[in-house]
């Protein structure tokens, strides 16, 4: 899949394929960090709840 995305950045590909590739391309490390941070927060909240229940 990543190969296809890279191909879309350099070669002409059109329509939905290009659009989806563009979104995934922009989903870089920053976004993964945000998602990771969200999961860490949820885990900490779960721990906080269980620690005092």
């Amino acid at each position: 899949m990543w190969g296809e995305i890279r191909k879309c950045r350099t070669e002409a590909c059109s329509g939905l394929e290009k659009k989806v590739a563009g979104y995934i391309d922009r989903m870089n490390r920053t976004y993964l960090k945000v998602l990771g941070f969200l999961f860490v927060q949820l885990a900490l909240l779960w721990w906080l709840q269980q620690a005092f229940l």
């Binding site: 922009r26 920053t30 945000v34 941070f37 927060q41 949820l42 909240l45 709840q49 229940l53």
Partner: protein, 581 residues
């Protein structure tokens, strides 16, 4: 308040206004006034986004909710990081690169003038009236706390915002927001410190939290899939995504914040500040309420946190019943305190069975106190005729004025006032932007000099400021009307998001399809809200889905968009691909 507190309040308010007004020198044109010449650093734009949401209602109401209901409310924000990610890859680059001043301006490029004007009008209606709600809640509380007339506190909150927004534009709004955020966060930490230090000697944060947990205040997660319950894990992670996408992606008061950033990348970063820090901040605010609950478990707390309400009941025919209730409350309060002390001792001994028994005892005693407080509030409602009276909003102001040292109390009152002021300022600025860009420049005077539009922008801000003052002054009388309009506003949040989904994600969608879909979505939400018990967060999902489905169907049977619109659409997408690639 002590004279020193009044002094702190006066100095801080004067400083905020002066600091905002001096931004005038950077505001020489319309782009400077509405978009700060796109040179606000990402972190300042991000803090401004957070400050605009952190209204006085949050400072007063959410902390009070933590006191009464615990941490459950934080679930509401679980979907926010997801919404920010979606917006960062979709609407943010689209708006930023197409060089628009307002989100609705883009709708004319993509669809037509009627769709743009109608969504702009919906924004003006909902935001215009929400200014009243933003002012009314803290103005009523502060007028009772200070013993000042409602008019005075309403003007004290509104006028500073009007002055610095009118003179300094969005730049003044955003830098003031940054200071407000710093003050609010400092204030929350100070109050947490005071609540913890006020616990009996030898008790710490964990003891306080254990007491709160035994009384049910530390429960965060509710995994029940109940469409009628607004605060569950599922409504927070699924339905709230639609609400936050709509709020941050299509509401001009938010969109304008990140359009001031230096680049599309910085605009994204400014939104991601909320993605990272909104949940911790909201948790902190709720934890403050929880710790104040622990504080008032060990320290004397009034049965009702509003002294004015108590005075009104004392002067009514229900005075006798209320006095008897108060006696009952004092006994129950004392017994609850003993149960809490027993729990702390059991924890210290490390005996799990004793701890379990003490927790059950404390829960039962807390229910008793809550039940008596409920009866007291019903007595207030009956005596005063205020059908919606609830003392949740008075808990934190009462804590500030009675428990904080002189000087700090003034600081905290300013923090609450500035929370309202910064929200109003952001709304005034966005209302003026939409009025000038989407109506005046679009329909009344399409061609004009920069100086002319700047003058009109200042006049528009001033007029919206006057409107805000008027709504604020008559807020008490307009209470039910404001509630109705805000309820009406909630009908089209999801629907407007549906229009933007059509604009962005459905190339075949036409202006007529979007316009008809918008009405269908609003109708569907109105029907759901009126005839089903479904909680309000799911209304946004209903609105967005109906708009997209109806919009697509209507687009199939109506002629395609005129060539000009198509090319404008194509140009906008081209811009996105060029600049954000």
């Amino acid at each position: 308040m002590h004279p020193i507190d009044w002094g702190v309040l006066a100095v801080l308010l004067a400083w905020i206004v002066w600091d905002g007004v001096k931004r005038k020198r950077d505001t020489t044109g319309i782009e400077g006034y509405f978009l700060a010449n796109r040179r606000i650093p990402w972190w300042a734009a991000g803090l401004s986004v957070m400050a605009t949401q952190l209204s006085a209602i949050t400072m007063i109401g959410t902390t009070g909710q933590g006191y009464v209901d615990g941490l459950r409310f934080v679930q509401f924000y679980f979907g926010l990081p997801l919404a920010m990610l979606i917006l960062s890859v979709t609407l943010v680059p689209l708006f930023y690169n197409s060089g628009v001043y307002t989100a609705y301006e883009y709708l004319e490029r993509r669809f037509d003038a009627k769709t743009r004007s109608f969504t702009s009008l919906l924004f003006l209606l909902s935001r215009g009236m929400s200014v009243g709600a933003v002012v009314a809640a803290p103005a009523v509380v502060l007028s009772l706390v200070f013993g000042l007339p409602l008019t005075a506190t309403a003007l004290l909150i509104t006028l500073p915002a009007v002055v610095y927004t009118m003179v300094g534009g969005v730049e003044a709004v955003q830098w003031t927001d940054v200071k407000t955020m710093a003050l609010i966060v400092t204030g929350v930490f100070v109050m947490i410190g005071v609540a913890v230090l006020g616990l009996p000697e030898g008790m710490g944060v964990t003891d306080g939290l254990s007491v709160a947990a035994a009384a049910g205040r530390m429960r965060v997660f509710d995994f029940s899939f109940d469409l009628t319950n607004p605060y569950t894990f599922w409504s927070g992670t699924l339905a709230a995504v639609f609400l936050f996408c709509s709020y941050f992606g299509t509401d001009q008061s938010q969109v304008q914040r990140y359009l001031t950033a230096r680049s599309v990348s910085e605009a994204r970063s400014s939104l991601l500040i909320s993605a990272y820090w909104k949940i911790p901040l909201q948790l902190l605010v709720l934890l403050l309420g929880v710790l104040v609950f622990a504080f008032y478990t060990f320290n004397p707390a009034p049965m009702i946190f509003s002294t004015r309400a108590e005075q009104l009941v004392a002067g009514s025919s229900a005075a006798g019943t209320y006095a008897a209730l108060n006696g009952e409350y004092e006994t129950a309060f004392h017994v609850r305190r003993q149960a809490a002390e027993q729990l702390v001792r059991a924890r210290d001994t490390g005996d799990p069975a004793a701890e379990q028994t003490a927790r059950a005892e404390l829960l039962a005693r807390d229910r008793e106190v809550t039940e008596i407080r409920g009866r007291a509030q019903a007595a207030v409602r009956e005596a005063t005729g205020e059908g919606s009276f609830n003392d949740v909003n008075y808990i934190i102001p009462s804590f500030i004025l009675n428990e904080l040292p002189v000087g700090l109390a003034g600081l905290l009152v300013v923090a609450i006032m500035l929370a309202a002021t910064s929200t109003i300022a952001g709304e005034l600025n966005s209302l003026a932007t939409v009025s000038v860009i989407d109506f005046y420049r679009r329909w009344a005077r399409p061609v004009g000099s920069d100086a002319h539009y700047l003058t009109v922008a200042r006049i528009a801000t001033g007029l919206w400021g006057l409107f805000a003052c008027a709504v604020a002054v008559w807020a008490a009388e307009l209470g039910s009307l404001i509630e109705v309009v805000n309820r009406f506003g909630s009908f089209f949040y999801g629907s407007i998001l549906g229009v933007f989904i059509l604009a962005f994600g459905v190339p075949r969608a036409t202006g007529t399809g979007a316009f008809v879909g918008l009405f269908a979505g609003m109708g569907a939400v109105a029907w759901t809200a009126s005839f089903t018990p479904v909680a309000f967060l799911w209304h946004n999902v209903t609105g967005a889905v109906v708009v997209v489905v109806v919009g697509m169907l209507v687009s199939i049977v109506t002629p395609g968009a005129p060539r000009g619109e198509r090319s404008a659409h194509a140009r906008t997408h081209e811009d996105v691909s060029i600049h954000s690639g």
